[in-house]
Symmetry: C2
Subunit: 480 residues, 2 copies
Amino acid sequence: MPESPITPREKDFAAWYQDVVMQGDMAEPAEIVKGCMVIKANGYAVWEHIQRELDGRIKATGHSNIYLPVLIPQSFLQKEAEHVEGFSPELAVVTIAGGKELEEPYVIRPTSETIVGHFFKRWIQSYRDLPLLINQWANIIRWEMRTRMFLRTTEFLWQEGHTAHASHEEALEEVLRMLDVYADVCENILAVPVIKGLKTRAEKFAGAVATYAVEGMMQNGIALQCGTSHDLGQNFGRAFDVQFQSSEGKLDYVWQTSWGMTTRLIGALIMTHSDDKGLVLPPKVAPKKAVVVPIYRKDEERAQVLEAAAKMAEDLGAHVDTREGQSPGAKFFHWERRGVPVVFELGPRDVAAGKTVIKRRDTGTKEIIAQQEAREKFGATLEAMQAELLARARQRRKENTVLANSIEEVEEILKPVTAEKGGGKFVLAHIADNPSNDERVKSFKASIRVIPLEDNYDGPGKCILTGEPVARRAVIAKAY
Amino acid sequence: MPESPITPREKDFAAWYQDVVMQGDMAEPAEIVKGCMVIKANGYAVWEHIQRELDGRIKATGHSNIYLPVLIPQSFLQKEAEHVEGFSPELAVVTIAGGKELEEPYVIRPTSETIVGHFFKRWIQSYRDLPLLINQWANIIRWEMRTRMFLRTTEFLWQEGHTAHASHEEALEEVLRMLDVYADVCENILAVPVIKGLKTRAEKFAGAVATYAVEGMMQNGIALQCGTSHDLGQNFGRAFDVQFQSSEGKLDYVWQTSWGMTTRLIGALIMTHSDDKGLVLPPKVAPKKAVVVPIYRKDEERAQVLEAAAKMAEDLGAHVDTREGQSPGAKFFHWERRGVPVVFELGPRDVAAGKTVIKRRDTGTKEIIAQQEAREKFGATLEAMQAELLARARQRRKENTVLANSIEEVEEILKPVTAEKGGGKFVLAHIADNPSNDERVKSFKASIRVIPLEDNYDGPGKCILTGEPVARRAVIAKAY
């Protein structure tokens, strides 16, 4: 057997990830553009599946898609003090256009709150214009120092929702509604279990009053933020002078929210489910749910097997791998590395006996079944696989979640953890939302990931650093 | 009756277009970013319908979607001499990123042939890697001097297909296959009739061997290029050193194609079908196919009418306009301006009699029908409207197509034509593909739009400028 093109996880997790991404036809680095990637055919098809699921939910909750310019006047970013401070180091700036130096440079959008603020001012006069619920699918540039395909790239694709409301209460409802949508997509589509929670003040979005997030755990125990939903309060309303007349005739600034999910989700599902053989895709986002591999040696078997394979594939909505000059073994490896959930094998004896072999990607289990039951088995296998991927990820997270009751304990657990060596944990500890506490946790390169929205273990306690009472344990971890 | 917010076409075609776009919730100018627009909810929803139709056809012809970086090293553009000359004046250049001056600036993609060339070199070694058929959905920046919403904007959205082949013959087949796809989408989805043809050498894409296009005619007789498909020959293969080993073991440069359609299509359908009342959308791209407007005066009628309206809407997959504080008349205008193909009116007497009024957007015809036949009538109306919009546009084009047998005749017909005053024509004349001929036509601000692929009138003739024999008449017109 030829050596696997995929580095085992045990040996080097980062190399494994890169191999899975490349061998799975998901992406490859675009070295010529710093920190960018090319999203390849299989990767983009997964993104299209994620988009469809997410877009459907965004529309079902009343939002309309629109499209805003990719270029933003540089001065716009300066209107919100925290926002400009947070994003300035990451900007790509257009200074020349149409052969001339620009009087005012544009930045390529690192996020669109500022240009949204500008247009909200145009579009909103009265409470009758509220709530205003928009979303856009777009590309984003943030000049990142350290990049990793899908997880953090200079350019990425995302959706960004932006809404304006007449009251803080209504805005907060929106923030939490979209957080629920995000958790639903993570768990029920990507089979990635997440914890919904509040980010600490030190970790919130630059310009937000509060940031909520869904936080996942990768196979190596490292945390990955999978989506964020921001309560912007009236910060951008004030910065862009977006006022509305209330039903009582009073003028007030609008209450805004924004929320986004990105191509990072593809990294999340790869790091949650894939194995040393390559990509494993949850059936709901797998571009090809099944491939039929016809097996024949002699020319006289060929026509018969191909015909039966084509018929079966049509029945199942599957793809037949009819490539010539490729052995069945090479074909199995090919689809395995691309994460196809189910492969059917079909040889001359199977055809004669009305049988086929069904093989499931994640467990590697094989079963000889009657062709007549293929459709039923296929559906059941996809369903089982989708459910079990989530259950396994949940179980893994459970096994890698620990309690700690002092900062020394937290440090002892997390200090040795690296993304490469693995062994990461979610450490649950009582810790107050206070930038100096974040600072202490950062001293061993971990971070407070979220303060969960729902109580997770044992209710209130005293902060392990300041002794002040806190409502529940937060999740502390090393993160991507 | 309040004054219409839409300028009549007769008065000022350009103002009419702008009004239709704005009142139809399709787009609005984003003055703060030169030449850009915001695509608003109705406009973006139309774009999503166009995307779905086009994307399905692109996939059905064997292409895979991928995503390439938006930034391209500036030096890449210089590798193909004609390409850099054509695009240099239109580039937006990023010179600062991450707080530092860049050693080599990046340009925001004005099109992706150069970065595609770079990656094709990575991906293609042998004839086994061919054909390579990719497509991407992306945003584009071209610093245009004169812009008009949808038709020509600094930033626009498009799909760009890029393919590599082992022979010129195969590449040319691809070019024409995609031209057919484009014509199909224009005619059968947008109801915009087009002429498939070859661009003259003077009008071809910078870097192509030949450019084919689908050319439409707007209501004012002005031509609009609706999509292009380029035979790139080996130009980019040579510029980026993309060689493959043929099945005979010889090294050769790949033969490439590229083809694109943009958000300009939305402008095409607006300018083809809309009227002085506002937007008219072909049913196949209408985000809402029908709206039910409930009519009631007294409170006791309200519940009954709303219930019947909701039931009917559910049956038909239509939207019910339940907005309070808006008169039925205001609602009719609202949906009319947004181009909804069918509006059902439902009042208390209709409910009692089991009737409803069906109103068709393009013709304005109203008919009282039984609610039981609403579904059937609705389907038939959408079908008739889709077909008749195309037929009317065909008829209009026919009426505005004329023959000319001398350059003076062409000039006399086209010189007075402007987009604002209308009266544009397609002038069919025998004219050779020769840059000096294009130049002569440009002297009266017209252009040779296409040399049709199929004979249109009377076969071969002699060039009206040089006297040399040409195979068929070309289309000369004023154009957007």
